[in-house]
Symmetry: C2
Subunit: 225 residues, 2 copies
């Protein structure tokens, strides 16, 4: 039993070391990077499409898409106007720092302002594997139900930003926003939250403004160095 | 690399052996058993609540609930009228045959007609770990989107029955049923599909009738042995 725990810890240590390498690479190239995680179907790809559409005039954006099979999501990101790289995990339930390292090697980082990494749709495993991105972002969605922070606490604890998507479905499903938000607040006090709908566009402006500001701040802080 | 593959194969072999033991135990006690898998928030627990409510007068039902944290789902199953056992996976992303074996030991199997196992909400990992139940059932939900069979093929290939839940949300989301069903049919030809809504009750009768028939058939086949 002890041996098994040690092996797992070694894997996490190795992953963290590679994540730190990835981060250094991104910092050197002045690329601001986010890792987007969520359940299958919460709307990661739709949010990325809207983000590209809203920011492609002012930012050079690349997307690295992790999927078990198909390149459907990378195709959508490319169609929306971003440089897109597909990581086919071959059945793996999460991205890890090695996979990101390989994908980064295929990008011209000095020509990118914002890198969006779309993780595999999974509310359990991805949060255990840091990639080296600046921020970890969780997309929740209204029809998933208001008990998710209570049932998947690690996912909600391990992120820097929460996006609540599919706000347009709120009238049609039983979802107690107060109960949901109380669960989030307990796990991750003061967490920054954006509530929006990728279908109606409600709330998207605040999200886009925030991302743009983060990218700008990242560029200026680098310039000052 | 070969060594790693061998270790993983050994784990799967060990799991399959234990799954076979579980099945034998269930057969001996004439318990018909199903393993319900899905993304977080697809409606596993709601479907189980409706199943208990619809069948509790004619069947003795037990639920084994796998969750990373909390006993919220087991509480709901118990409130609906079933015997409920909670498996807290302690962060594990799936149930396996060992966990089920331990849970079975805490149940009086000769007093149960139908055992419902609710797996951890995860569209990737659970399908790799057989539990020994008679049938594996996947719950998909309309707001997850119509591309899920294409993006998570193993989940759709590895099941005996598909339930499409949240049919009441079809008017409010972009979901091409033909595209979804074509993806399913390609991966798992002839798969039995139930389309329903746990909110409106639409389609629930067919599901309940089918489950009841399966349980009855299981009891008579055993009686004939």
């Amino acid at each position: 039993m002890t041996e098994r725990i040690e092996i797992i810890e070694n894997i996490f240590n190795a992953n963290d070391r590679l994540a730190a390498d990835n981060r250094k690479l991104l910092e050197q190239a002045k690329v601001f990077s986010i890792n987007i995680m969520a359940s299958p179907g919460a709307g990661k790809t739709s949010l990325i499409e809207k983000t590209i559409a809203g920011l492609t005039d002012s930012l050079r954006i690349a997307v690295i898409d992790g999927d078990i099979a198909t390149s459907l999501d990378a195709d959508r990101a490319a169609a929306a106007g971003a440089t897109a790289v597909q990581i086919n995990t071959g059945g793996e339930c999460h991205l890890d720092a090695v996979m990101l390292q390989q994908a980064l090697a295929s990008l011209k980082l000095d020509r990118i302002d914002l890198l969006i990494v779309e993780n595999v749709g999974n509310l359990v495993c991805p949060v255990n594997f840091r990639l080296g991105t600046h921020l970890n972002i969780l997309v929740a969605s209204i029809p998933e139900g208001d008990d998710k922070p209570y049932k998947y606490p690690a996912a909600y604890q391990g992120v820097d930003v929460l996006v609540i998507n599919k706000l347009d479905l709120l009238p049609y499903v039983p979802f107690r926003m107060d109960f949901f938000r109380a669960g989030v607040e307990k796990l991750n006090p003061g967490l920054r939250v954006f509530s929006l709908s990728c279908i109606t566009g409600q709330g998207l402006d605040s999200w886009l403004t925030w991302i743009k500001d983060e990218v700008d701040a990242n560029r200026s802080s680098k310039a000052a160095n």
